[in-house]
């Protein structure tokens, strides 16, 4: 008897409290953004939460890109993954191989009945995150590419043309002039492997690995130990030796030296723009990556960096509905446009790009269209569609280690590249074995 009464009371209370006091469904979003990009993430979540009451997106900063990805994997293994996790482009192959751990975006949208047309997105961006037959697996969030930033004041001080160099030979010559003109550090490439090997190969229409750089299968093999690459690394090592180039490390640590005015030129992510804009106390410009004019087809197009949002599996249908709504919100033209204009990351939809263009933004802000033009200027080839290599994080470290050996004068460029290729291939075979 008392149980029945209790049940009745509970049902009554439920009926009263139910819809009126329903807590919004919480959606965990793990990310790796810092500084002004962190503010952007928080604003996106807050704006979405203010727009409706059914769902609440909670962004959680989880450390660097690799740390965020590892945290999500560990959480998945422990049975409590976040709903959404931001994974950098080099983690894409690992996430794609983890069928059963992720819910593909195209399926998420279809299940939730959310309107979704992959044709609305920029193919240069989404191609990276889609299967061979065009099914989008993750939602591009902050997409960037490598470009060159140059300090106009430093050029003037060194008595140089107010025009940045276009080719590699010009870049090396400019670097020497900057150095002799009194610059403490002339040119510094950030993300050494990304800018000097990955982007370099795509930009010169050279293969980095077989099977369209891994996009067509996990049985891909590294092939970047070409004479062209060896020559480039040799020249680079010479420039580092005579101090007209600086070695800036494997990630973006050199960016601080550009913002402080210490280095006059830097090759790094287009996502660096927000930081320069906010913190640099000098006039700066942006330009395309340099190329070797004697290489046929160069410049081709550069490839994408940055990160995309992956949805983890094992969540409730109503939670997936919320994620689908959030992804629709992120794809909205006004939201994309604002994100693009503030951060320097690329717009992911065609409409957002067109709207930005139509508003005259690129005329008012010269250089801001460069990343898109550089990415989409030519239709991509097998060598420039993108990269999909298992354990690319580790492969990058291996390449960086061998390059560091060359820059320190300890090994020959050709031997170092051969060694990096051999070690990288061992990693690729290990990855293939592990995902069997």
């Amino acid at each position: 008897m008392p149980i029945k009464i209790l049940a009745a009371v509970a049902a009554l209370l439920g009926a009263i409290a139910g819809p009126a006091f329903a807590e919004p469904i919480e959606l965990q979003w793990w990310h790796a953004m810092t500084a002004i990009n962190l503010e952007r993430v928080n604003k996106l979540a807050a704006d979405f939460n203010a727009l409706q009451t059914d769902y609440k997106v909670t962004p959680v900063y989880k450390g660097s890109y690799p740390e965020t990805m590892t945290a999500a994997i560990a959480a998945f293994r422990a049975g409590s993954p976040p709903h959404i996790v931001q994974v950098f482009e080099v983690g894409t192959a690992t996430m794609m191989a983890a069928k059963g751990a992720v819910k593909p975006v195209y399926q998420l949208m279809a299940d939730a009945g959310e309107p979704f047309d992959p044709q609305n997105y920029l193919p240069t961006v989404t191609g990276y995150y889609s299967t061979a037959d065009g099914k989008m697996l993750s939602l591009p969030f902050n997409s960037s590419t490598a470009i060159v930033y140059w300090n106009k004041d430093a050029f003037q001080k060194a008595g140089l043309d107010p025009e940045p160099p276009k080719t590699w030979p010009e870049t090396f010559a400019t670097a020497k002039k900057l150095k002799s003109g009194g610059a403490n550090c002339a040119v510094v490439p950030a993300w050494i492997t990304w800018t000097q090997i990955e982007q370099f190969d795509a930009w010169h229409n050279l293969p980095l690995a077989t099977k369209a750089n891994g996009l067509d299968g996990t049985d891909t093999e590294l092939v970047f130990n070409t004479p062209v690459m060896a020559k480039h690394i040799t020249t680079l090592a010479e420039a580092i030796k005579d101090k007209s180039f600086d070695y800036g490390g494997r990630t973006n640590e050199a960016e601080g030296r550009f913002v402080s005015g210490d280095c006059a030129m830097i090759q790094t992510s287009s996502g660096f723009y927000g930081n320069v804009k906010t913190n640099a106390k000098f006039a700066f410009g942006m330009t395309e990556l340099p190329y070797y004019p004697d290489i046929k087809g160069a410049p081709q197009n550069s490839i994408i960096g940055g990160a995309s949002l992956w949805v983890m599996s094992g969540k409730k249908p109503e939670e997936y509905k919320g994620i689908a709504k959030f992804f629709s919100y992120l794809s909205r033209t006004d939201v994309q446009r604002e994100m693009h204009e503030v951060t320097g990351y690329l717009p992911i939809t065609k409409a957002a790009y067109e709207a930005t263009k139509a508003s005259g933004f690129y005329e008012k802000n010269p250089g801001r269209e460069i990343p898109i033009l550089q990415l989409a200027g030519k239709s991509p080839t097998e060598n420039s569609r993108g990269l999909r290599l298992g354990n690319l994080v580790q492969i990058r470290d291996i390449i960086a280690e061998d390059l560091e050996g060359v820059f320190a004068g300890k090994s020959e460029p050709k031997a170092a590249l051969d060694n990096a290729v051999a070690r990288g291939n061992a990693i690729l075979r290990q990855f293939q074995k592990n995902i069997q």
Partner: protein, 294 residues
């Protein structure tokens, strides 16, 4: 001589032991068992497919030239850190022991680095020596020294050895000071009356009597250099350049967390576990018996 407390039943002593046992099981035995289990398996990062591979991970690790290189680096690093930290700890202890005025101040200042977490210590050294932003790095370059440990392996090694040593000196200082203070003054006075110089008194009386402390500290320092220096390496060099400062414990982390090769990482930690067990056994066997002199 020995006084024993006798419990009337078994329930109460078991209850008293329970919290400690629970902590030990949850934080030591369970993870250790997990590591052993993982070390005989091969699986993808997400644990979606798992295969039993017996000792394959171990043979792969032990046959990997990179692993052996890392082991070599670890031995070098540990000897350098333990040697430097012990020598400077002893030096500071002997000096502080002689100080009459302001002794408490010296001792406090010398103990401070021990209160700093390894990760924080790493960041402190990074801010001083980073080629891009470090204050000392700028000064070194002004002096004409080409300071760039991002490329120069010996510089990187020197830097992490110094940072790790700096952090451990306090601990050694404390134990040496306690050791010094427990040396009977009558011995030193007697030899002083016999005309032994301070140097001679140190080498013939103080140093031998400190031997048990030194041996204990040697083991503790090696264990420290092997395992507790992860935070410093991670913050300062990330094992670079070209793996020149990648000690074994960093490699475990790197292969597991960055490389996502859990089988190999687990096999490496099982090997490390065996090393710790070995070191602990040595310590118990040789020190516990001789630690009480007189």
């Amino acid at each position: 001589m020995e006084r024993r407390v006798v419990f009337s039943g078994w329930l109460f002593p078991v209850l008293l032991l329970l919290p400690q046992l629970a902590v030990t099981v949850v934080f030591f035995f369970w993870p250790a068992a997990q590591a052993i289990l993982q070390s005989v398996r091969r699986e993808d990062a997400f644990g979606l497919s798992t295969r039993f591979v017996a000792a394959e991970n171990f043979t792969a690790v032990l046959g990997d030239p990179l692993y052996l290189a890392s082991a070599e680096i670890t031995v070098l690093f540990s000897i350098a850190v333990a040697g430097l930290a012990l020598a400077s700890g002893l030096l500071f202890a002997v000096m502080a022991d002689r100080v009459v005025r302001g002794a408490a101040v010296y001792k406090t200042v010398l103990l401070l680095p021990y209160a700093v977490a390894p990760a924080i210590a790493g960041v402190l050294w990074l801010f001083l020596f980073n080629p891009s932003i470090g204050i000392v790095a700028v000064a070194l370059r002004r002096l004409g020294i080409d300071w760039n440990y991002l490329l120069d392996a010996p510089q990187a090694m020197l830097l992490v050895v110094l940072a790790a040593t700096w952090k451990q000196i306090s601990y050694n200082f404390l134990f040496f000071l306690a050791g010094l203070q427990s040396i009977p003054p009558s011995l030193l006075e007697a030899s002083a009356i016999d005309g032994a110089s301070p140097r001679r008194r140190f080498w013939t009386i103080v140093f031998p009597l400190l031997a048990p402390t030194s041996f204990f500290l040697l083991v503790v320092n090696i264990v420290y250099a092997f395992f507790d220096t992860f935070g410093i390496i991670h913050n300062v060099t990330q094992g670079g350049p070209a793996k020149a400062t990648e000690i074994l414990v960093y490699k475990v982390w790197y292969d597991g967390m960055v490389g996502l090769d859990l089988g190999s990482s687990a096999a490496q930690s099982v090997i490390l576990m065996a090393i710790v067990i070995g070191l602990t056994a040595i310590q118990f066997r040789f020190i516990e018996r001789r630690v009480h002199y007189a």
